[in-house]
């Protein structure tokens, strides 16, 4: 890892918003809530490690994400979408960022890519695990675990997420090749 003082590099800003009727049983108000600000910050920080900011001095990259429908795994999906959008915008990035969510149940059962219903089971019954990775460089850009897990189970969760991310990465790369006609990453 290279350490540098980023006084002249660019900045990354992210604005994440749930659309008013995107979630079941919740009305998302027009103003950005605390939860959305937190998600925005997580995505911005993840992207900061991927975008080659030294190529954009004194500029700002603004990523605007609208979640139209929430059926589980929103944070991971937002990361993947943001990453593909950056490539489409021809902003120089080190690698793709692919996110994957799993739901870990007490007893060891893992559900990859849970639906909203599966995600919202009580925290006493398990934990939600989100991971975002750079598939070619094998680096973790974001990680979030909500709910209790034992230390030994952390490895299982990370491995399950990683595998999920690699599978999605293959599909995303294929799509980019077809649409952009050049090898990404």
């Amino acid at each position: 890892a290279v350490v540098s003082t980023q006084s002249t590099g660019g900045k990354v800003m992210c604005e994440f918003k749930y659309m008013p009727f995107s979630r079941a049983n919740t009305y998302s108000e027009p103003r950005q809530t605390f939860e959305e600000k937190v998600i925005s910050k997580t995505i911005a920080e993840a992207m900061e490690g991927v975008i080659i900011l030294s190529k954009f001095p004194k500029s700002e990259v603004l990523i605007s994400i609208q979640m139209i429908q929430d059926d589980g795994g929103t944070l991971s999906l937002a990361m993947t979408a943001a990453s593909v959008a950056l490539i489409d915008a021809k902003i120089e990035v080190r690698d793709l960022v692919i996110g994957c969510t799993i739901r870990f149940y007490n007893g060891g059962r893992i559900l990859v890519d849970p639906t909203a219903e599966e995600e919202h089971t009580k925290t006493s019954e398990g934990a939600g695990f989100h991971l975002a990775v750079m598939p070619s460089l094998s680096q973790v850009t974001a990680l979030k675990q909500a709910g209790k897990i034992e230390q030994a189970q952390a490895r299982e969760c990370i491995e399950a997420c990683w595998e999920g991310c690699l599978r999605i990465a293959t599909a995303v790369k294929k799509l980019l090749e077809e649409t952009l006609g050049e090898q990404p990453g």
């Binding site: 890892a1 925290t123 094998s138 973790v140 990680l143």
Partner: protein, 281 residues
């Protein structure tokens, strides 16, 4: 809070961390001395002051009786808010500290997101009607790095000595009467045996360290907050900060974080229990 370092200083710090011998002589897993004082704010239900290095934090817990949440009629509420005092830095005047405060409030609240950290059921007074709402206010008086860990330790200590008045409920339905005792000795305490503390591990160069100084934070790329419970379970985990983390390093961080967390819990509980035996309550 921007630290200016020369390239030589950065290299010195990074090399030190990688070789487990930091610039102040500590190893990568060593915390500085933690000072803790409890029950210092008489108008709160529980309070604590914690000092680590140059960071000083004050936590106050206040309880009030409120209506239950429609979606969760059998549990009480816990609201954690962080505030960076302008005393800590001139940058915190007005809205300057808003981003940092949101961050802190989020991470500290997230620590307690799991139902097995603190029993919110205990805070329920009358199911479907009233419950206790605990307002935990974390005030940063001085900021010298490692804010999250210090705040979480002070938080646990404050909750440990939080006393809530006993409520007598009589009658039912419309005739229900609640009497909150105002006898200062007629109180009950929360069960904090599962409360987590936050251990933040910063990735510096090819290695990682806990409890970094401000200079070490400036050299770091990415960090991980782990909510460690006394029995070694993890109540939450979050990677933050710009910079990517290697997966092998991540798993090592988890292992070290849990180990260090368990040790701090042991020491903290020992001191809090010792203090309890001194009190006349």
């Amino acid at each position: 809070m921007t630290t200016r370092l020369s390239n030589a200083e950065i290299q010195y710090i990074v090399d030190g961390v990688e070789q487990d011998f930091r610039s102040d002589g500590r190893g990568a897993e060593d915390y500085r001395q933690i000072e803790l004082e409890t029950r210092i704010l008489p108008n709160t239900n529980g309070s604590a002051r914690c000092k680590l290095g140059k960071t000083e934090v004050l936590v106050g817990v206040k309880a009030e009786v409120v209506d239950v949440d429609v979606h969760a009629p059998h549990i009480g509420k816990l609201v954690i808010t962080a505030d960076c005092s302008a005393v800590a830095s001139p940058k915190f005047v007005g809205k300057g500290s808003e981003v940092l405060e949101n961050d802190l409030s989020n991470v500290l609240s997230f620590l307690y997101n799991s139902t097995n950290t603190i029993s919110l059921n205990d805070l329920c007074i009358v199911k479907g009607e009233s419950c206790w709402q605990l307002h935990v206010d974390v005030l940063f008086v001085q900021c010298g790095g490692n804010l999250f860990d210090v705040a979480s330790i002070a938080l646990k200590a404050a909750l440990y000595n939080t006393t809530l008045p006993i409520v007598k409920v009589s009658g039912e339905g419309i005739e229900m009467e609640m009497e909150v005792s105002d006898d200062p000795y007629h109180v009950w305490k929360l069960d904090v045996s599962n409360c987590p503390i936050c251990i933040t591990l910063y990735q510096i160069g090819g290695g990682f360290a806990v409890d970094p100084s401000e200079e070490e934070v400036a050299c770091s790329e990415g960090f991980v907050h782990i909510g460690v419970q006394p029995n070694g379970d993890m109540s939450s985990m979050e990677k933050a900060g710009a910079g990517n983390i290697d997966p092998t390093t991540l798993l090592e961080m988890v292992e070290v974080g849990v180990r260090v967390g368990e040790e701090i819990h042991k020491q903290l509980n020992k001191q809090l229990d010792a203090e309890k035996s001194l009190a006349k309550l």
